[in-house]
């Protein structure tokens, strides 16, 4: 008997399921291990900026228990305002790792919470592979499912946010996203409230985990809506949707940070509207099934349309009147792409909110990016409800990914699914032993044509409309083995290339912890530049427990996590004015900045300076955003224009404007820097310019610490002068005194003091 027969045979069923499990486990293993580059190369450490807060919060949760975490007021950030942390974060991530932590304890595995946090994302990526498998299995079959799982396991687009140490909400969110969608599809297929409830449950988890839950909140209603428009309303749809919406919404409202948004804000209105629409449609459907009269049905349809119109009008009205909050900036900026740049510089300033150029797509998805449309097209072949979902998801996600680099994350899963479907379609045809018999086929076709000739063409049109061009003719199969071999071989090569690509991208682009910079010494050995931690640890050990550190918001979380000191602003940018205040202090002259520092009882100011090392991500390069944000609040005091030369250049060398040279940021960055070089040779290696021979002078600050490669510079804010002089004159006096001391004896100085 043929191989197919053997595979189809009952007796091999168990064997095949075992094989499936093994494959899935292997995929999970690959997914996890390919995310461990950074841990192996460096150490088990938290990476970027945001995760440092999550990590800190998790430690707090583990230490003070759930309720302590729930109403946690954090007075060590946003000084002097503080932050109601418990109510303003998505607790999902922390709670997850907290639970894991306690379970392991219970199993007598006292693993350090840091390691749990570091390895959470890779662990969940394995689950994501599983969820994707289930999802795709619903779309086509298990073969496609396994392919999809393999793709999502190693696709850089997803790895970029889930390498070991990137302890961010996305780490678990993508798994939740895929699993929620799978449950939704399952519920829709079976029309069961049970699966709907499960879907709602995971939706709730998703809400607790990530702000991106709004994507689900709008995808599912959109799917339902499109199905209705396609005239595919069914009790299954009704049951699954209503059960999901009712439970899911109630659940989501339990998260303090979300609260009443689901009924108050526009992002959630689509779901509500579709819910209402479904009720009406169901009603109409029911009545129609009872009352056969044609006119009456027409009437009902009219009623349906009118009701829909009215309700949507009502929604609009409510929004305008303000009962329903309009789109929040972040989401609105997705639609009106110019919006953020003008109105919310903070959002625009974040690099991951920039639009995506095409290389990024290829970089993150490689060959999947062109298999993706093919897969979408194939879904049209037998357009079942779930296929509609994938199609919509594909289109929406690719739009979002195009607008924001960050949202590449939501695109990746659907790309993997579609690509897997396409690929498995190909393999279905070319990886089979079945081989049509040419003569028989020819005969059949002849017969077909005869029949067609005899019968008058009828109902052809309607047929055509619902059949894809590509699949008009009856399927026959592949005759020659060579063509099979070539096709399969080629695709095998492509897949191999894909794996190489993913590994390369992961190891080169996504596996360097931004806290530690790795460089190569001339002899090729790895040299680690650890300035951040050097400076943070200095702060932690050698400054008073309650010292207030002012820095740009990017470093707020890290200072909180590593230096364990109070910060003014951090990456949770909830208070624009406060951030603008810091920006103003940085951008204005010393005399202006000093009162601000005093008012916020700042003890130390921290700046990042890459000039010596050529580290481009430093504060001088971020300075423009500080200025813009400050200008947004104090347009009269801070003017971006003043920082550009008359020819509109942004310069730090001799040609820099006076405003620039006198700004606190400039002074702090370049203070004492010129003394590193022979006179007049001072080089800024980031901007690639030669600096003025005389460095800036600082009166209100004194240099407290500078890290080995000058990346982090910490300044101590001077106290008010004892004699009530302003600092400038005080400093001038001191220096003058020093000179005199060297020239004439002490007594002269005493005289001078009397004067």
């Amino acid at each position: 008997m043929s191989l197919d027969a053997i595979l189809k045979d009952e007796s091999t069923k168990n064997f095949r399921s075992l094989l499936k499990v093994v494959i899935l486990l292997t995929i999970a293993g690959a997914a996890i291990s390919s995310r461990l580059f950074s841990v192996i190369r460096f150490e088990s450490i938290i990476h970027e900026f945001d995760p440092w807060f999550n990590f800190r919060a998790t430690k707090y949760l583990v230490k003070n228990g759930f309720y302590g975490f729930w109403d946690w007021f954090d007075d060590r950030t946003w000084h002097p305002l503080g932050r109601v942390t418990g109510g303003t974060l998505y607790p999902g991530l922390m709670v997850t790792s907290g639970v894991i932590y306690h379970i392991l304890r219970f199993l007598t595995f006292p693993v350090d919470i840091r390691n749990i946090c570091v390895l959470l994302a890779p662990g969940f990526s394995g689950l994501t592979a599983l969820a994707t498998y289930l999802f795709t299995k619903e779309m086509k079959d298990e073969a496609a499912g396994l392919l999809a799982a393999a793709f999502i396991g190693i696709a850089p687009g997803y790895i970029s946010r889930s390498v070991a140490g990137s302890y961010d909400n996305e780490a678990i969110a993508i798994f939740l996203l895929m699993f929620t969608f799978y449950l939704w599809i399952k519920a829709l297929k079976l029309g069961s409230a049970y699966w709907g409830a499960l879907c709602a449950l995971f939706y709730f988890y998703m809400v607790a985990a990530w702000g991106g839950y709004v994507f689900i909140t709008n995808m599912i209603p959109l799917h339902a809506f499109v199905l209705i428009l396609m005239g595919r309303f069914s009790p299954r749809l009704y049951v699954s949707y209503t059960s999901w919406y009712a439970l899911g919404t109630l659940g989501s409202m339990q998260i303090p940070f979300v609260g009443f948004l689901p009924i108050r804000s526009s992002e959630h209105m689509a779901a509500l509207g579709v819910f209402g629409l479904l009720q009406i449609v169901a009603f109409v459907d029911y009545v129609r099934s009872q009352v056969p009269s044609k006119q009456f049905q027409k009437l009902l349809w009219v009623f349906l349309v009118v009701a829909f119109m009215v309700s949507s009008a009502a929604l609009v009205g409510l929004t305008v009147s303000g009962t329903i909050a309009p789109w929040t900036g972040r989401f609105y900026s997705l639609w009106d792409t110019g919006y953020a740049k003008i109105h919310i510089p903070i959002i625009a300033s974040v690099s991951e909110h920039q639009p995506t150029a095409w290389p990024a797509f290829f970089f993150d998805l490689s060959m999947l990016i062109w298999l993706f449309p093919a897969g979408i097209y194939m879904l049209f072949q037998n357009l079942a409800d779930e296929h509609v979902f994938v199609i919509i998801y594909g289109i929406m996600a690719s739009y979002f990914a195009g607008v924001m680099v960050r949202l590449m994350l939501t695109l990746t899963p659907v790309v993997c699914v579609a690509a897997a479907i396409a690929l498995s379609n190909i393999f279905d045809n070319y990886l089979t032993l079945h081989r049509p018999d040419a003569e028989k086929v020819a005969a059949e076709i002849a017969a077909e044509e005869k029949k067609a000739a005899e019968e008058p063409k009828k109902t052809e049109k309607k047929e055509d409309a619902n059949v894809l061009n590509a699949v008009k003719n009856p399927e026959i199969g592949i005759f020659s083995t060579t063509s099979k071999v070539t096709v399969v071989g080629m695709f095998a090569i492509y897949l191999f290339l894909f794996v190489l690509h993913c590994t390369w991208v992961t190891s080169n682009a996504y596996s360097s912890p931004s806290v530690v910079l790795a460089s190569r010494l001339p002899d090729g050995s790895q040299h680690i530049i650890d300035d951040y931690r050097e400076a943070y640890y200095w702060l932690r050990k050698n400054t008073p427990e309650d010292a207030k550190i002012m820095s740009w918001w990017d470093y707020g979380y890290q200072i909180g996590g590593m230096a364990d000191r109070t910060t003014l602003v951090d990456n949770n940018t909830w208070n624009n004015t406060h951030i603008a205040t810091v920006g103003k202090a940085m951008a204005s002259r010393e005399e202006v900045a000093y009162p601000i520092l005093r008012q916020h009882d700042v003890d130390y100011v921290l700046v990042i300076f890459g000039g010596l090392l050529g580290y481009s991500g430093d504060d001088i390069n971020k300075f423009l955003w500080m200025i813009r944000i400050a200008e947004g609040v104090w347009p009269d005091e801070i003017k971006e224009r003043d920082f550009f030369t008359s020819r509109g250049e942004y310069r730090v060398d001799d040609g820099a404007t006076d405003t620039m040279k006198n700004s606190l940021m400039y002074k702090m960055s370049f203070y004492n820097y010129h003394t590193m070089f022979p006179p007049g040779q001072a080089q800024d290696r980031v901007r690639g310019v030669k600096l003025p021979a005389v460095g800036p002078t600082l009166n209100i600050l004194e240099e407290a610490f500078t890290s080995e490669n000058w990346i982090v510079r910490i300044y101590k804010v001077k106290d008010l002068d004892k004699l009530g002089r302003d600092h400038a004159s005080a400093v001038a006096f001191e220096s003058g005194k020093k000179k005199r001391k060297s020239k004439l004896g002490k007594n002269k100085v005493r005289k001078l003091r009397v004067v």
Binding site: K13, F42, E43, S44, I45, T108, F109, P110, V516, I528, D530, R533, E534, Y536, Y537, W538, R540, K541, N542, M562, N672, T675, M676, E702, E703, A704, F705, T706, S707, E708, W710, K716
Partner: protein, 495 residues
């Protein structure tokens, strides 16, 4: 093989001694009345006091020729200290010059008076009129302070030492002399006493040593004589470990001895006057001059140390170098703190490494009685003072009848169970605390003996096995349950 047996035997004997001496409460209490004055049975015919100040604490070695001037043999030689000085004593040891008696037992007396007495017990009584030469070594901390208290980044550091002219003794001292050894001959000022009989100045400075005396016929009533003080350059950083905790974990399954040391260092030298200036630091670093800042700490580890790690509260510190020496088993470990430690700055770190257990644990007999012999502490080579020290020994799970012998006097002992991976009732652990330890003492041997019955030995695999089998059983049962509501439909088998 034979030789090994022999060594084993030696080991065992020494161990019996060790365990016999173990546990503080067995040590004899010495109580003295308030107005105690030792009987004048001895005379120090000749006394030479060597004070070594090359480390940031005082190492004093008194070589004294003691003559028994009484009628009958004597064993108790008393040494007096002021109470407040005695509190700062890190160690005090005595042995006879000839070395036939080995180390003599030095007992700290309990008495309400202002004087703190120590009694050296001469195990072989000194007959009347006979002499014995004692070497008494004393470690004393808190005798130096930086003067000036604040210096600049590049300035030199000076310490001021304060002491006494004579070596204080309970007996009449015929002839005595005090030699003070310094790190170099840069000594700006030191106490000048009135010239000696022969007119030569007192003290006499020769290179890096300063000699006070000789003095004749000093009675015990004269106590220490005049206060003398020196101000000298000190070219090394003054390091103090406010807390030091060492954890020694024995794992029979892993055949591994894991050692982890936690340090909280402070530079107690002259404080940094103005702020740290990176430019100067980089500039001076090329030609590295003596500096008061702690730049690096070096360890000489022995006994085949494996994969050491150097971390602190925020993760791995990448600036450490680990090098195997030519001599087998020796390794050189150099740690650089994240930043140079200037006066008054703090730094804390954790250092850990592993050993092969076989080099440290021997089985005594076949009864599952083991003996662990491990260095009490292995700090860096740099001279430093440990204020508060705690050493924890974690024995395998189920270890019983733990007995220990410590080379240093212990403040407190604590026994508890340490729970870690796959422990059911936790591992037996003892924690020893002491204070005011100096680096001079590190490397001394701590001995712990314990019983571990084979049953206990196989506890872990047994527990794991039973847990897993229970898990499988439960899952099997659960899988078997039919949770469907309503009648079972046809063709649902196999779905």
């Amino acid at each position: 093989m034979r030789s090994f047996l022999a060594r084993g035997a030696v080991l065992l004997t020494s161990l019996f001694v060790a365990i016999a001496q173990a546990t503080p409460e067995t040590a004899p209490q010495l109580n003295l009345p308030e107005k105690f004055a030792p009987p004048p049975v001895f005379k120090n015919t000749n006394l030479l006091r060597n004070i070594d100040l090359t480390k940031p604490y005082q190492r004093e070695v008194i070589a004294v020729v003691v003559e028994n001037i009484s009628k009958d043999p004597q064993t108790d030689y008393y040494i007096p200290f002021d109470k407040e000085v005695a509190e700062r004593i890190s160690y005090i040891e005595a042995r006879d010059k000839a070395g036939v008696l080995g180390f003599l037992d030095v007992a700290k007396a309990q008495s309400p008076g202002p004087t703190q007495w120590y009694r050296v017990f001469i195990s072989e009584p000194v007959k009347a009129g006979e002499q014995i030469t004692l070497h008494i070594a004393i470690g004393l901390t808190g005798v130096v302070e930086p003067v000036p208290a604040e210096i600049n980044q590049v300035d030199r550091q000076y310490l001021k030492w304060t002491g006494t002219q004579y070596s204080r003794s309970a007996y009449v001292t015929g002839k005595q002399k005090t030699k003070i050894k310094l790190i170099n001959n840069e000594v700006p000022d030191y106490t000048q006493l009135e010239p000696k009989s022969d007119g030569s100045s007192d003290p006499a400075k020769l290179g890096s040593t300063i000699t006070y005396g000789p003095y004749e016929e000093v009675t015990s009533a004269q106590l220490g004589g005049d206060v003398i003080s020196l101000r000298y350059e000190y070219t090394l950083p003054v390091i103090t470990a406010d807390t030091f905790s060492r954890e020694i974990e024995v794992s029979h399954w892993g055949g591994n001895l894991a050692i982890e040391e936690k340090y909280a260092l402070t530079n107690t030298g002259a404080k940094l006057k103005d702020n740290f200036n990176r430019v100067k630091w980089t500039a001076t670093n090329y030609l590295n001059p003596p500096t008061a800042a702690i730049k690096s700490l070096t360890y000489g580890l022995t006994n085949f140390p494996l994969n050491p790690y150097y971390t602190d509260e925020i993760g791995n510190v990448s600036t450490s170098r680990f090098r195997q020496e030519q001599k087998p088993g020796e390794a050189h470990l150099e740690l650089k703190p994240r930043y140079p430690l200037f006066g008054g700055w703090n730094y804390s770190y954790t250092l850990g490494w592993n050993h092969d257990l076989r080099n440290f644990v021997r089985q005594r007999g076949s009864s599952g009685n083991y003996v662990l012999r491990v260095p009490f502490m292995e700090g860096p080579k740099e001279p430093m003072v440990y204020k508060d020290v705690s050493v924890t020994v974690i024995l395998p799970e189920g270890a019983t009848d733990v007995a220990w012998y410590s080379p240093l006097p212990i403040l407190s002992e604590e026994r508890f169970f340490h729970k870690t991976f796959m422990d059911t009732l936790g591992r037996t652990a003892i924690k020893l605390r002491m204070s005011n330890v100096v680096d001079e003492l590190q490397g001394r041997e701590l001995r712990v003996s314990y019983n571990l019955s084979p049953v206990e030995f196989y506890r872990k695999p047994y527990v794991i096995f039973s847990a897993l089998s229970a898990l499988f059983l439960v899952s099997w049962v659960v899988a078997g349950i039919d949770v469907r509501i309503g009648p079972k439909k046809e063709g649902e088998e196999g779905k």
